[in-house]
Symmetry: C2
Subunit: 139 residues, 2 copies
DNA sequence: TTAAGTGCAAATTATTTGCAGTAAG
DNA sequence: CTTACTGCAAATAATTTGCACTTAA
């Protein structure tokens, strides 16, 4: 158990966040297995609940915001009704499955933007968000 | 007056929508001058109010949804908290000004995506949304 | 005349916040 | 100790909806 907890605790420490019980539990769900993950507050709340840890929904919201603020997570806006958070904080394209409202990574190496509009006078580009909306095909 | 109203009424008719007083007023604000426009429910509500026409906020919401459903408008998702609607329904990139929360068109001819990730098995690409987030530079 | 559209107020949904209690450094 | 964190319940904010009333066709 210590091996895994050390990993997530390092993740938290690297951003200067206190490793509280709830944050460790949430981080465990998020990056415990080393894979990238896309969550909403609700989905993370359910997942952490399934592990037996009790974390209030308000804390899930606050923690997601805190992780975002320190750069551990990236917020991705694809659906006006809920916020998605991505453990992969690099600029990369996403697939958004409209039927299931799921967000997944699109292979970044397959995307190539050759010419990007330049930022207007007095502005600079913060990020370039690419969302590829997918519809399920009937077969 | 008739010239302008004919234009917006044609716009409505082309989508098979009844030209009610409120829809005509809203369409007038949206496409009356022939320019493309990006609005939120609230901003459209204010703009139409400024013309003297009285349209309830609920109707603005319902109408925006109706216009979207029939393809007169395109919803653009850039900010989790509110919905934006674009009179330009072609697939094109956007600038999103983070400080003022304004949405504008990015010059489409300057964007070139060379390789797009292909849709996973059983799915097809609905649209590719490109949002370039801008931060104001201090000068 | 009649189905569709409108306005109001109440309901919903996702999210944030105030504050009293708890825990980490 | 003492400052940040947590949980609850109440507050917000954007949007939707139920329903009685209007209006376009």
């Amino acid at each position: 158990m210590s091996g895994i907890e050390t990993r997530v605790d390092k993740w938290l420490a690297s951003a200067g966040l206190r490793p509280t019980k709830q944050r460790t539990a949430l981080a465990q769900v998020l990056i415990g297995d080393g894979n990238h993950r896309h969550v909403t507050a609700e989905s993370l709340f359910e997942r952490v609940g399934a592990t037996g840890e009790r974390v209030s929904l308000a804390t899930v919201y606050n923690t997601l915001r805190a992780f975002c603020r320190v750069g551990l997570l990236q917020e991705v806006t694809v659906d006006g009704t809920k916020s998605y958070f991505d453990t992969n904080t690099h600029d990369h394209p996403h697939f958004y499955w409209e039927d299931t409202q799921e967000l997944t990574d699109a292979p970044a190496d397959q995307l190539k933007i050759v010419r990007l509009p330049e930022a207007p006078e007095g502005a600079e580009i913060g990020s370039v968000d690419v969302v590829i909306r997918l519809r399920r095909k009937f077969t």
